[in-house]
Symmetry: C2
Subunit: 405 residues, 2 copies
């Protein structure tokens, strides 16, 4: 008789967004006239930029003609896209990353969930707390996290690095040495960042103890301050200790288009084994390439017109972030993030729990956000709002909060 992967049964229910949906639905039923504004989920709302739409139409037409049809894509991505990425995201920033160190994928969620596969099961992971749940859950499924304490929300074999107001959202080096260190910068959910000097400390630390940094830079496009690095490879020595994961979801609105990439430098080695060759083998065995049409869309992100249009789109969201941040400050809230990221992380007032504040905001202002405790134990007492709504709704939400909450 076959058996299942018992690690799956250890996973606690994934109730965050379904609980939010239920609460909102119950409130709406009881208050049918309330016009609820949602600033909870990290999904974009602006349409795909015209330059990208044009590129997709062109690629669709190519697929309809025998002479320009494209079948299986190269496992690791089309050269036209990998070279464009290398040139624009790395060479232009002084990072010595070549096209053949870039692996095109269907998004950073898949990559951040799958990357752990190439490491040993008894490797110890370290995550910031609060954290994007995929990092932990994918390691639970692989049997790398020990046992779960439902009360504390803590896995016995995971190293948690609190990132809270008290340490200015900069994680400290853990007491026990980790093997794999997940860092998301700019950070989801806190919207905070590390400076280049702070990230350099982590690179030095990883090289010293023999750890790999899994660096999620999905929100890179939102960086506005000069001393925040756009890539971990801006730090010296990162090529021997870091894998960088990138997404087109937030810089180009590709949440429903699906494209991302991982950078695995050839210098990154465990003894004689290059992680590049392991990840290439995984891609070749378990993935059949991102769609041709989508890879052409990705290429258009870097065209002159694409860059201009996306700069405007990111600006639109960051203006929302400013509106939220300033509005909350005016209303007396303690607020973080929102300068180099589309997320605003606020301290709940009057020692409310995250869920108490959720109810408070829903009832008093008809605004939906995400309770910080949904991202881990040290998210308790915080709350996330996103800048991905439209401007008019965002303005109104903040006006309501100022008046009522």
């Amino acid at each position: 008789m076959y058996k299942i992967n018992e690690n799956y049964l250890k996973l606690p229910g994934s109730y965050l967004f379904s609980t939010i949906a239920k609460k909102v639905s119950a409130y709406q039923q009881a208050n049918p006239d309330a016009r609820i504004i949602r600033l909870g989920i990290g999904d974009v709302t602006q349409p795909i930029a015209p330059a990208i739409i044009d590129a997709m139409h062109k690629a669709v037409d190519e697929m309809g003609k025998a002479e320009s049809f494209h079948g299986y894509a190269p496992d690791l991505g089309y050269a036209f896209l990998r070279e464009t990425i290398a040139k624009n995201d790395y060479i232009a920033r002084g990072c010595d990353i070549s096209a053949d160190e870039i692996f095109v994928s269907d998004g950073a969620k898949s990559d951040s969930a799958n990357i752990q596969e190439i490491f040993a099961t008894d490797n110890k992971i370290a995550v910031c707390d609060p954290v994007y749940p995929v990092y932990v859950d994918s390691n639970v499924m692989a049997g790398r996290t020990g046992t779960y304490d439902a009360k504390t929300q803590v896995w016995s074999d995971v190293i948690y690095m609190p990132t809270v107001a008290e340490n200015n959202f900069v994680p400290e080096f853990p007491k026990q040495n980790p093997d794999l260190i997940y860092i998301c910068c700019p950070n989801n959910p806190t919207g905070t960042t590390l400076t280049k000097a702070q990230l350099q400390d982590w690179v030095d630390y990883a090289n010293k103890i023999g750890a790999v940094i899994l660096y999620d830079a999905a929100y890179e496009a939102y960086i506005s301050e000069a001393d925040v690095p756009h890539s971990i490879y801006e730090c010296k020595g990162a090529k021997t200790c870091a894998i960088e994961l990138r997404s087109f979801s937030k810089n180009a609105g590709f949440t429903g288009v699906r494209l991302g990439f991982a950078v695995v430098p050839k210098e990154l080695k465990c003894g004689d084994v290059s992680l590049h060759s392991l990840w290439a083998r995984r891609h070749g065995t378990k993935f059949n390439g991102a769609p041709y049409i989508v890879q052409r869309a990705g290429e258009a992100v870097y065209s002159e017109a694409g860059k201009a249009q996306l700069k405007e789109q990111v600006g639109y969201y960051m203006n929302n972030a400013r509106v939220i941040k300033e509005g909350l400050r005016d209303a007396g809230y303690e607020v973080y993030g929102g300068v180099n990221a589309p997320y605003i992380w606020l301290k709940t007032p009057n020692e409310m729990t995250s869920w108490e504040f959720f109810d408070f905001l829903l009832e008093r202002a008809n605004v939906v956000g995400t309770p910080g405790s949904g991202f881990g134990p040290h998210g308790e007492g915080y709350f996330r709002l996103t800048a991905f709504g439209n401007y008019e709704n965002t303005m109104e939400a903040l006006e309501r909060i100022r008046r009522n909450a």
Copy 2:
């Protein structure tokens, strides 16, 4: 110091198609005038059908407008696609499969590689021999296959079920009970099939011993004979023992568009645990949905115009299959497959090895195929040709074989 997943190091090099490419390139250099015809790789060549192209253009336009933009797709796929699949591929064939048992993915390669994750590491797998390499390799990466003997090409913990001319390409029940049984029908590489009665035997066997059948039906659209099942759920009892994997790559030419789906019936349980809930959890954690544009393309496959156009496309390839099969027979070859599948599997003449025949065919007819031994030890002495070329080249290839080989 971190460690890698040592299972990856056990994988033998994946040299089949790169060796072919090298040999072809060397021959072409030595014989610059030779016009080589490639009937080796299982990639399609016909363009995407007009009804699907129209649907993609429409979806691209929707993505370009705020009011019709689509962000994150539902984890398991859009209802419009899942319902269309359930209705056309299952209900219409008398299979009681509902939309919420269908999981939309980016293709059958990913699904067939990932599905093993929800099972225990010490489960024993059984595969046909020869076999699509992804089934075995994904289990090697998971540490489920024991040690490899390079000489015999055999893994110590894998149960091999020979499918050869001697048993009419129908695998026999293995002596040792497997936990997971991979069956690809119509088969890649042999192009042969099981009848409904033969598949029913496997379903009964799996239910009896408590095994799960991982049923890859990627080539379903090529079935021309009445007694060959289009879905394993045409067999009684399959819903308690089988997961079906399906692809749009070969019925609709989506090798570069990327779309597939898995069917996990809710009745399929290991004790109290439904595999449906495990696979849903995996999708939700490690995947972010197939692109909206691609899911709309998938829907168009089932439109009236789409069906008519694809029937013609499949007919085009199956006419090639007929040309190859009859041509080889006329030339005195022993030939299998090609009736319910786009692959022709031939016995190499004069006790040549698969690679000897590869060289023979390249040199004598300037035709490239795939050596059977590349698919496993029992593929030795066989050779695969595919019907996915264009008609004119296929005709010429067979004419050359008749004349020279």
